[in-house]
Every structure is written in structure tokens, then in C-alpha cells.
């Protein structure tokens, strides 16, 4: 706008029509990335995670080229070499009546049962690495599935309101009120005996997809409820009304206007849900309703070690340490992501 004062034209708008190009300020994602890179504990945790994942991915290399064992075949009458001498993997018990056998303990030799054997003579270290692949796979994929489902449901409930919101919210309430482990146990017990057959979807009883789907489902309300609240708060905002005024469809508004606004919260949830889901998987496997044999996970190995806790504690301790270290790293990294993206996020409770 310009106004004529005393014959002179005074500019009041943005003055420099041609000036040095101003660098656009970094977007929110880039800013968050910079903040994470400056957060030393989050970086250390991220590096630790990568290391654990890498080591687990290299499980076949360890089993094949270093330990020369098959961690999924029992080796009850086999022998191994300790200090140059050949000894049986399962030794005759010396305590009590001398009945039963005790697996070999940690040898400290990576080529021959580094952490000892379990009660079927299988190499514990190799099993830990293979088990880690399953634990991580289940943790990460169920977190992704859970967050994706929760985003869809949370955005739908928050955007449309009305009866859609009423139905979805009651659904969240019921699952929320149901103790998660009990719900998971119910689903697992039924599905693990027969597998899932829903229309075109067929999942076999022993498949890893079952724990992934079950764990993802039970935690949907944890993520969906806070997202629904955020979307409801967005509904009255002017930019949404502008989009409505431009004639955008509901689908387009949800995809282009609502989703980018809740996405940071979803990303904040991802590492924390991965940790939670991995812990849930290990607990379910410990209760024998998670990963099924012959597959292994850190939880099943802790369960295997339970009977040998006092004679060969290393099985339990090592598997638990893997779970604990991974979960700590995920949580520390997740805290870093939250501080960078959405410092005020209310992650527990949320309602």
C-alpha cells in the first residue's frame, strides 16, 4: 500500500524489491535433526542401537564362520574343545545323585561356546544373536504397524468427530481398560494354536507375524488417543477453514493439512513404542505365548535359562542384558527425539 504525503510517494510495504536473496529458514524437520545431532546422549544411544542391530544382523557369520554351530539343532551328545581338551557339551551332573546333565558354562572362547550351551547343547551366543534379530524385527515392525494404525484411526476420529469419533473412542476405551498383557495372552493363546484365517489373510500358527500384529494392536490406543486430541485441536484452526473454503476434499485435507501437523508426534512415539513393544515381546515369549520354537528371541532364551538360573546363570543374564541395553538405548534416543521435535508431548496417559 502506498500513500501520497506532500507529493512524495512513501513506501510502506516490503521495501527491498531487489535485494540479496534471503536464505529460507530451515524447516522443522531439519531443525530437529540439528538438535538431535547436538544431543550427545541421544547420539551415543543411536550409535549403540546401530551397533546392536549390526551385531545381530551378522548372526549367520558368527554361527557359520566363528563358532561353526547350528544354533537351531540340539547337540546333546556332541563335544567341544576347552583349553585344548575335548569335553562333552552336556556334562554329567556332579551334584546330588549324579542324574541329569548340566550344559557347559561360558568358555570365553568365541570358537567354542563363548557363553556356554543351553540345556539342548546349543551355542548360547549364536542363539542370542539370532534371537536378537527376531526381537528387534518384532519390536520395530510392530511399532511401525501400531503407529500407522493409530495415526489413521486417531486422525479419522479427531477430524470427523460425531459418531465415527464416538465409536472409535469407545473402542480405544475398552482396549485401554484391558490390561495389555492379558489381552495379548488371550489373542496369542487362541491364534497360536490355529493361526489366523481372515478372508484372504492366512497367517500360520508359528509365524512371527502373529506376535507383531498382536503387540501392535494392543498398544494402538496409547498412540491414537493423544493424536485424536491433537487433531481435534487443529479442527478449529484457520488454515483448515481456508482449505475447506478452497473446496478441498476431506481426504485431501486430512492428508495434506492434518497429517503433516501430527507427524512429529508420531515420530516421537516410534522409538519409545519400539522399546515398549520389544519388552512386551520378551515378556510374552517368556510366558511362552510369543515367539514359538524353533525360532528364538531374547525372551524365549531368558525362559530357557530360567531352569538353569542357579547352575548356568550366564544364559539368563546375557539375554536380559541384551534386552535391557537395547531398551535403554531406544528410550534415551526416544527422549532425544522428543526434545528435538515435540518437547511438550505427553506420552503416558495422554487423555
Amino acid at each position: 500500500m502506498s500513500a501520497t504525503v506532500n507529493g512524495a510517494v512513501k513506501e510502506t510495504g516490503p521495501i527491498p524489491a531487489v535485494a540479496a536473496p534471503v536464505r529460507p529458514s530451515a524447516g522443522p524437520w531439519r531443525q530437529a535433526a540439528t538438535r538431535i545431532l547436538r544431543n550427545r546422549s541421544a547420539l551415543a544411544a543411536g550409535a549403540g542401537l546401530l551397533l546392536i542391530a549390526l551385531v545381530c544382523l551378522l548372526a549367520p557369520v558368527y554361527a557359520g564362520s566363528i563358532a561353526h554351530t547350528d544354533p537351531f539343532v540340539s547337540n546333546i551328545s556332541g563335544t567341544t574343545v576347552v583349553g585344548g581338551q575335548e569335553v562333552p557339551v552336556l556334562q554329567q551332573s556332579t551334584e546330588g545323585l549324579g542324574l541329569g546333565v548340566t550344559p557347559i558354562g561360558p568358555t570365553g572362547d568365541p570358537a567354542h561356546y563363548l557363553l556356554g550351551a543351553d540345556n539342548q547343547g546349543r551355542d548360547v551366543m549364536a542363539r542370542l544373536l539370532y534371537g536378537g534379530r527376531n526381537s528387534l524385527l518384532i519390536g520395530i515392525s510392530s511399532a511401525l504397524l501400531c503407529c500407522a494404525l493409530a495415526t489413521v484411526l486417531g486422525v479419522l476420529a479427531g477430524y470427523f468427530g460425531g459418531w465415527i469419533d464416538a465409536v472409535l473412542s469407545r473402542f480405544f476405551d475398552v482396549i485401554w481398560a484391558f490390561p495389555v498383557y492379558l489381552l495379548a495372552i488371550c489373542l496369542s493363546v487362541v491364534l497360536l494354536t490355529s493361526g489366523l484365517h481372515l478372508g484372504p489373510v492366512h497367517i500360520d500358527a508359528g509365524s512371527l507375524a502373529l506376535p507383531i500384529v498382536i503387540i501392535a494392536l494392543i498398544y494402538v490406543p496409547y498412540v491414537a488417543r493423544p493424536l485424536r486430541g491433537q487433531v481435534m485441536a487443529l479442527r478449529g484452526k484457520e488454515f483448515l477453514q481456508a482449505a475447506v473454503g478452497l473446496g478441498a476434499s476431506d481426504a485431501r485435507i486430512m492428508r495434506r493439512e492434518v497429517l503433516p501437523n501430527v507427524l512429529p508426534t508420531v515420530v516421537v512415539f516410534l522409538p519409545l513404542m519400539t522399546a515398549l513393544n520389544m519388552l512386551t515381546e520378551s515378556a510374552l515369549s517368556f510366558l511362552s505365548v510369543g515367539v514359538q520354537s524353533p525360532d528364538a528371541s531374547w525372551g524365549t532364551i531368558i525362559n530357557d535359562g530360567l531352569a538353569l538360573l542357579y547352575t548356568r546363570p550366564m544364559i539368563t543374564i546375557a539375554a536380559g542384558l541384551f534386552v535391557a541395553l537395547t531398551a535403554v538405548a531406544l528410550n534415551v534416543f526416544g527422549d532425544g527425539v522428543r526434545d528435538a521435535l515435540d518437547p511438550n508431548a505427553r506420552l503416558r496417559g495422554g487423555a
Partner: protein, 322 residues
């Protein structure tokens, strides 16, 4: 207040109904195997299958089946296990409930006291050594598998150091309170501490955050301007408001504990509670026991949540109008 209580209990009844329907559908209507075969357990003979079909009415429509199941569970209490033939399920659960409650209530008391004390301390002494310590404990609280921690505690107290420092620790197991209160507490002490340590960390961390936020509020500045002592401001003004979210979280966690972490802790410490019962039933796929234990535990959780909400409404009048 009376209106709020009625509304809250009404909602709880609705949720209970929904949960029972959900469990019913999971066990009886999931496509796949014949539910009679599931309930009768592995390798059941045709006569048993026929008996199961008759007693659960599998030839009748679903709503009738639902009512028959509820009748077995809550009216006639005659749900029987088919794996351990003839064992009545409900009395088994009733016997196990006091054990679970002993574990959870004791742990809850310890963790609330510890958590509030540590959180307040960390909030008051920001920037000192207490602070990172509480943060660390909080991370451990959400990261360590509780059953694994229990096993490590067992390993140390029952085996490694049992001959020296921990000679006073009794063998794993449970002694009823009515039999000997001292032994009851002694047997439960380590399970209590194991559970409480993790939750205390989570709560301390949460409370610290709330306190720091509260200490920046206007009402705290007003209190300072009035010349109140810093201790009074912290304990009477800031802490009081900061405790409100803690109480509501407590309701959720207490419930989740009965059906979750306590289940695992019972298995590890050999406490014959509902969790141990469920665990044993899972080992031999004893479905009636699992069904009964899940429903009873879920019902208890929902009721506990309702009670906490009512208490919460007493603490914070704003909630009653929500």
C-alpha cells in the same frame, strides 16, 4: 459428587460388559478351530468334546453362548478345567487373588512413597547429583524387564550371596498373612522391592518434570511474594498440584500391574497368585483357567480404575464437571 460417582460407575459397568464380550469373541468366535476343541485341550476324546459342546451350548446362537459362559463364570461358578480334570476354576482364582493383592498393594505403597520422595528431592535440588540419578532410574524403570530383574535378584540372594549377606532371605514362596504376618512380609519383601524400584523411577521422573513446571507458575511467584518459606511453597503449593497427574497415572499402572508386571513377578518369585495360575494354564493350554483368570483380573482392573477416578475427583473438583 454423588452424580459423578454414579456416572463413573455406570461407565465402568459398560466397559466391563465390553471386555467380557471381547474376551468371549476372542475365545469362541475367532475363525479357525472349533472352540470346543480349544477348551477341551490337546488330544481330547470325542466324549469330552461332546460334553464341552453341551455345557457351553455351541449349537446355540452366539448371544446364548455368551450368557452361558457368564453363567458358568459368575453365577454358578462351575467352570471346570479339562486339562486337570474336574478342578473347579473359580475357587482356584479366588484362592490366588489375596496373593496377587499382597504383592501389588505392598509394592504400590513402597513405590509411591519412594517415587514421591525422590521426585520432590530432584525437583527441589535441580542441577545437583540427585537430578541425573533420578533421570537414570527413570530410564531403567521403563527399560528393564521386571521378570529378568527378579531373576537376577533371586540369583544374588538365593545363590551367590545367600551364605553371607542374604542369609536371612527365605526360600521362594508365599506365607499367608493370617498364618504369620512377619513371614508374610519377609517372603514378599524382595518381590515388593523389585517391582517398586522400577515404578519409583518412572514416577520420580514424572513428578520432577511436573514440579519444575509448577515452580514456574504464577501462583508460586505469588506465594514467594507473600514471603512464604521455600519449603512451604514446595510442599504445600507446588507439590499438591503436581501430584494430580501422578494420581491418575497410578490408577492406570496399578491396574496394569495386576494383569501385567505382577504376573511375571509372581512367576519368577514363585508366588501362587493369579499370574502364576495363568502362567501354569498357559504352559498346558488350559483355556477355562485362562479365560477365568483374564476376566477376573480385567474386572478388578476396571473397578480399581473407577475407584481411583473417584478419589481423583475428590482431590480435584474440576474433574467432576468434565
Amino acid at each position: 459428587m454423588a452424580g459423578y460417582i454414579l456416572r463413573r460407575l455406570g461407565a465402568a459397568v459398560l466397559v466391563l460388559f465390553a471386555i467380557s464380550v471381547l474376551v468371549f469373541l476372542i475365545f469362541f468366535a475367532t475363525p479357525g478351530v472349533d472352540p470346543a476343541a480349544r477348551i477341551a485341550g490337546k488330544n481330547a476324546d470325542p466324549a469330552t468334546l461332546e460334553q464341552v459342546r453341551a455345557s457351553f451350548g455351541f449349537d446355540r446362537p452366539l448371544p446364548v453362548q455368551y450368557l452361558m459362559m457368564m453363567k458358568h463364570l459368575f453365577v454358578s461358578h462351575d467352570l471346570t478345567s479339562f486339562v486337570n480334570r474336574g478342578t473347579l476354576v473359580i475357587p482356584q482364582i479366588m484362592d490366588a487373588i489375596p496373593v496377587t493383592l499382597s504383592l501389588v498393594v505392598g509394592a504400590a505403597v513402597i513405590w509411591m512413597v519412594l517415587g514421591v520422595a525422590m521426585g520432590t528431592l530432584a525437583g527441589a535440588m535441580r542441577g545437583t547429583l540427585v537430578d541425573p540419578l533420578v533421570m537414570l532410574l527413570g530410564v531403567f524403570g521403563v527399560s528393564l524387564p521386571v521378570y529378568w530383574l527378579g531373576e537376577v535378584v533371586n540369583l544374588i540372594t538365593q545363590k551367590e550371596l545367600h551364605d553371607s549377606v542374604f542369609s536371612w532371605v527365605p526360600p521362594l514362596g508365599y506365607v499367608p498373612f493370617s498364618q504369620s504376618p512377619g513371614q508374610w512380609a519377609l517372603h514378599l519383601l524382595l518381590p515388593w522391592l523389585t517391582l517398586a524400584l522400577l515404578y519409583a523411577g518412572i514416577y520420580a521422573r514424572l513428578l520432577r518434570g511436573e514440579l519444575i513446571q509448577a515452580l514456574n507458575e504464577d501462583y508460586v511467584r505469588t506465594a514467594r511474594a507473600k514471603g512464604l518459606s521455600e519449603r512451604r511453597i514446595l510442599l504445600r503449593h507446588a507439590l499438591r498440584c503436581s501430584l494430580i497427574p501422578i494420581v491418575s497415572l497410578f490408577g492406570l499402572d496399578f491396574g496394569a500391574l495386576v494383569g501385567g508386571a505382577a504376573l511375571l513377578t509372581e512367576v519368577v518369585f514363585g508366588l501362587p497368585g493369579v499370574g502364576k495360575l495363568t502362567y501354569q494354564a498357559l504352559q498346558n493350554l488350559d483355556l477355562p483357567v485362562i479365560m477365568g483368570a483374564v476376566l477376573y483380573a480385567a474386572f478388578f482392573v476396571v473397578l480399581a480404575n473407577a475407584v481411583v477416578d473417584v478419589l481423583y475427583a475428590r482431590l480435584d473438583p474440576r474433574v467432576r464437571r468434565a
